[in-house]
């Protein structure tokens, strides 16, 4: 079956992003397809490239990054959520004259159209918040 996953929460502060990751890994393990990961609201922090995990804890951001790259997933962060939270692509950071980009290259910034599009093209959309 074709799934999409929507993530509304940042790593660490609540468990939801971790649950979403675990669920997504299981989906792939069971042979299902993921049409898109969509990071909305605080969920955009899952795609941050600047985080440093504590030595004895996993980096959720690095795990998402690996999952996306290994399985060539389409991963989108919501543009309006991302900009006001400081999750910026290289182009956006340069355009604004800011000190660096903060979005992992495994995700791209786009609009809510991609959120709706995910529903239309998936058999199931599962949300974690």
């Amino acid at each position: 079956m074709i799934f999409s996953i929507v993530i509304y929460s940042a790593p660490y502060t609540t468990q939801s992003a971790s649950t979403a990751l675990h669920f997504s890994k299981t989906l792939i393990g069971e042979g299902h397809k993921i049409y898109r990961l969509f990071f909305y609201s605080d969920g955009v922090h899952n795609a941050s490239s600047l985080t440093i995990a504590p030595q004895d804890e996993k980096s959720l951001q690095a795990e998402w990054d690996t999952l996306i790259k290994v399985n060539k997933l389409d991963s989108v962060v919501c543009v309006s959520s991302a900009l006001k939270r400081g999750v910026l692509s290289n182009e956006e950071a340069q355009r604004q004259g800011l000190t660096g980009h903060s979005l992992r290259d495994s995700s791209e910034i786009s609009g809510l159209g991609q959120f709706i599009d995910a529903y239309i093209h998936s058999d199931r959309v599962i949300s974690f918040g």
Binding site: F3, T26, E30, D123, R124
Partner: protein, 96 residues
Amino acid sequence: MTTLHTISKGPSSKLLESCLSIARENDALLFIEDGVYYSSELASESSIPKHQLLFTLEEDIIARGLQHSILNKFETINYRKFVELCTFHEKVINWF
């Protein structure tokens, strides 16, 4: 045509009440994250749904030390079964 509802907050939220007000009798409910407290005899004030099929997520139960207090009405499942439930039901509604 049935719906799977996931509930991911505990009884100190009003999430289950909201869900039950619009869930149908043959829907299924899956409790995850802090929602698993609903499935434990150690939960305050929780009123267990009468009709729906009830599932609770093993990984979240083990994390919280609830493995010996799960109520009979709940079936304990793992992530693979969670995925399977999502495919089995025509619709999934997530409550968080």
